[in-house]
């Protein structure tokens, strides 16, 4: 896992649902994630799937990822190359799914971050440097178990490595 992440920001608002991320009309593409990823977040910003670049960072408002349990949502965000999602808050199933598949999420005040800003994130320290604005934003620390999942590369790799869940 990269502990220092650098990338350019895509900005989204509050309540970005799993239907924005992985629209229901592409239900038939759920067994074909690379194809589904071509539509990632298109109902929130049609330009996003066309222009997103490896390493880019999503910064959003409250309750990012609300709605369905579809793990396809964080998977296609990761597949599109996004290195980290920062939001004021996350819906719980999305939060869990993202760490399970090795996509880092940070909870922080994103108001001062604008689209196109360059960020440098220290995941371990939970510090977000906005290089464009010259400011540093603190995030809520990632719980130790979630950090371990990231370090292991996701829940599958975690189980393969430890032979079981290792929560202590």
């Amino acid at each position: 896992m990269e502990k220092i992440i650098k990338g350019r920001v895509w900005k989204f608002g509050d309540n970005i649902s799993t239907d924005h991320i992985a629209p229901g009309r592409y239900f038939h593409l759920r067994t074909n994630l690379p194809e589904l990823a071509k539509h990632v977040l298109e109902d929130a910003d049609p330009e996003f799937p066309k222009k997103v670049k490896p390493g880019d960072i999503i910064a959003a408002g409250n309750n990012f990822g609300l709605g369905s349990s579809r793990e396809h949502a964080p998977r296609i965000i990761k597949l599109a190359g996004v290195s980290c999602v920062i939001a004021k808050s996350f819906a719980r199933i999305f939060y869990r799914n993202a760490f399970n598949i090795g996509l880092p999420l940070l909870i922080a005040d994103t108001d001062k971050i604008d689209e196109g800003d360059e960020l440098e994130i220290d995941l371990e320290k939970g510090l977000i440097k906005d290089l464009t604005k010259g400011i540093t934003i603190e995030s809520t620390p990632i719980p130790p178990f979630m950090m371990r999942l990231l370090e292991d590369g996701g829940i599958v790799e975690h189980i393969m490595k430890h032979g079981d869940f290792k929560v202590d």
Binding site: T31, N32, D43, N63, G67, S69, A91, V156
Partner: protein, 420 residues
Amino acid sequence: MLGKTMAEKIIGEHAGKEVKAGEIVVAKVDVAMVQDGTGPLSVQVLREMGMERVFNPNNTILFLDHATPSPRKELSNAHKILREFSKKTGAYLSDVGEGVCHQRLVESWASPGQLIVGADSHTCTSGALGAFATGMGSTDVAIAFALGKVWLRVPETHRFYIEGEFPEGVYSKDLILHIIGTIGADGATYKAMEFIGPTIEKMSMESRFTITNMAIEAGAKTGMIPPDNVTKEYLEKMGRGDKYREIKSDEDAWFEKDYEFNVSTLEPTVSFPHTVDNTRTITEAKKMNIRIDQVYIGTCTNGRIEDLRVAAKILEGNKVHKNTRLIVIPASRRVYLQALKEGLLEIFVEAGAAIESPGCGPCVGIHKGVLADGERVLSTQNRNFKGRMGNPNAEIYLGSPATAAATAIEGKIADPRDYL
């Protein structure tokens, strides 16, 4: 020492130790399920792990309900993956026409005190029977299939004390929409919502399922109702009377938040696009004169026999408005048969409805009523996010089966109390 909440008790029993809110634990799973939208990914994960097996085949269920009967070959192939997995592992396959996973779970599997995980966000529905039931992703449930356990963070509980008598024409759907409208679509994120009080005690299981089904729409991990005589009678009717047990929060347990709601002044309530917490009373909504192109009565939220009875009573002797389509889908085969026996389907057909086979129907956005650009639907389902029903250029309004029936007749958002 403080007492324990229902959630802490159930998770503790499954973790084999005392637990308290905030802890991360590993807990044994009683029932695990996937559906046709999430299950193929679970099977893929198990293959990648070299663990294509299930720990407890009798309580491992693969539901074909989201895209049934299959509208296209990619989805037929997804179904095939689950059929083959069922043959290989002995997991139960709930096939085309059996119904929506959450309705089938409460009919045939879910019981008080159980820990249930499902790769579908509305798995919380079973919490009305006193289970700890929660939605997760495909990978989490795949691991639960293989190992018979999951990791869980023990949630804090928000308790909702509900009192008062429902006015005529107002139902549990209106109550839960009102609650979400009040606390917000993230008002209970990561929490267990527990519903108690005299109004809940008097409520049928069908009405209770509608409430716990929508706990996720407030962001909650689960919605729970302590089992009582109503629960016991329901389980007996479903042939699982022996599974009844009591479990409830201790009086001295710690609740992160306590809410009180009185339903006696509640009005029929409608959620406006594009979030569930965007609620208005029917009086406000009616004034806005909102034309509706399609009405959908069904789903895991409101496709049960009680819902169909309420809608049929309003539709009997009436016709669906000429500019509006009405789609009715019983939530399960059992509900379908009962509606058939009671003559409800005849009423719907005579009113001009299209009846489809049990399953999720148009709520999923791929078939059985996808909306055109600029169209509006009023549905009894649980969420109205942009694009949910297959077209981001359409609008989804949510209401009770009674509100839906009245709206189908008038072709615009209508007050069901005018038909009682």
